[in-house]
Amino acid sequence: MTVNPLYHQTNQRMEEELSWIRRAQKDPESFGPLYRKYHEQIFRYVYQRMDDEELAFDVTSQVFMKALNNIHKYEYRGVPFSSWLYRIAKSELYQSFRDRKAERTVNIESFQLVEMIDEFDEDHTEENKQKLFQSLSKLKEKDLQLIELRFFEKRSFKEIGEILEVTENNAKVKAFRAIEKLKLIFNSSN
């Protein structure tokens, strides 16, 4: 499986990023480079999970605002700054669902659907596609989240672990269980 290349950074890039963070911690006006680097990633993460483009931009702004207000608390742990931003984004996203401002949405590409049906060793029929749609909508939020992160967004288990605040191994186990549950729902709807 291909993995999200944006997550992986060279040591040089990480050091550069750390210097930006240090500067932003001292002076909020220096937040620009971090904002420009991660704005698109965070927007896509948010918009992937909702259907309202304008609201997705608002939520993204909210994420960066929260990040800026709390950047003094940020501690570098040898992982990209994006992991911290994703955690804030996750929290803001679920807040918007709770406030009923946005509707939980799963956006899938046709090729992703095909990949998943392959994973289940099933044929690429229209019927199976519909079944998979229904199965995904029946999945619990925590499992759906794992399926999205791992199978649709192609994130590594390490990154998933950092976003969900679990260990890499735990992320692996949870993702495996989530796909098993989806398979079970898919097969039971025959």
Binding site: G32, Y35, S137
Partner: protein, 249 residues
């Protein structure tokens, strides 16, 4: 049951379109607006709390000392009161009992003064009150005038440390540790109302005294001071004080 909307092949937003929507100024402005106020900042309460406590101790230092060391302070004030009255009486009484030649009397007066100053030093040290200390200069007076005690006085063989109330009750006298009995002593204890420093003629522990000590001083320290005996030359000598903690039976 919850419903999740599933969308297939939604048109993608280009990176350029997303970039156009970037607005760092707005983020900075909103961040500045949404910063929690001083009253919502936990640091505020920490600083205010610390300052309040510091101010309290700054303005009420004496009260706090009274609260913690009230017994010591009472004891020291008793020492001061006693200094002017009882000590002189003790010395006068002892002097009348031991009638000697004029030369001897003069010597005794000198000794008595020595005893008085030394005993005051010892009592002040016991009371642990710094307020008494400036009046006296312990080093100078003790080294120049106090005589070396003969032997260690004791109650039932115990000179310092702890004694059970029941063991104290069995004892009727304070042993001087010498062939001569103790002529008089002072005892510092709590009588249920206040700390007292009581003069006792002779070496006997009365029943009333023992009962008070056991009733009100269990777990506390009691002090036997200014214990006088005569040495082989017939001169008055003060023995080292006895400090005892009364243990429950």
């Amino acid at each position: 049951m919850k419903t999740t909307k599933i969308i297939l092949d939604r048109p993608k937003i280009s990176s350029e379109d997303i970039e156009k929507k970037q607005n760092l100024e707005r983020v900075l402005q909103n961040a500045a607006k949404s910063k929690p106020g001083v009253l919502k900042n936990p640091w505020f309460y920490g600083v205010v709390g610390t300052c309040s406590i510091a101010a309290f101790f700054l303005f009420f230092p004496l009260d706090s000392e009274k609260g913690t060391d009230v017994r010591d302070q009472k004891a020291s004030s008793n020492v001061s009161d006693f200094r002017s009255s009882k000590s002189n009486e003790v010395i006068a009484e002892l002097n009348t009992k031991d009638q000697k030649s004029t030369k001897d009397t003069e010597q005794e007066i000198k000794v008595s003064k020595t005893i008085e100053s030394a005993s005051l030093n010892m009592l002040s040290a016991q009371s642990t009150s710094d307020q008494v200390n400036p009046v006296l200069s312990p080093k100078k007076k003790i080294t120049s005038t106090a005589r070396k005690p003969l032997k260690v006085p004791n109650i039932g063989g115990i000179h310092s440390g702890a004694i059970k109330g029941s063991d104290l009750f069995k004892q009727n006298v304070i042993e001087s540790g010498t062939s001569e009995p103790i002529k008089s002593f002072m005892i510092g204890y709590y009588n249920g109302t206040t700390d007292v420093l009581e003069y006792v003629s002779g070496n006997e522990l009365s029943e009333k005294l023992k009962q008070d000590i056991i009733a009100y001083n269990t777990g506390e320290m009691i002090f036997f001071t200014e214990m006088y005996v005569t040495d082989s030359d017939g001169k008055l000598v003060m023995l080292t004080p006895i400090n005892l903690r009364i243990l429950p039976n």
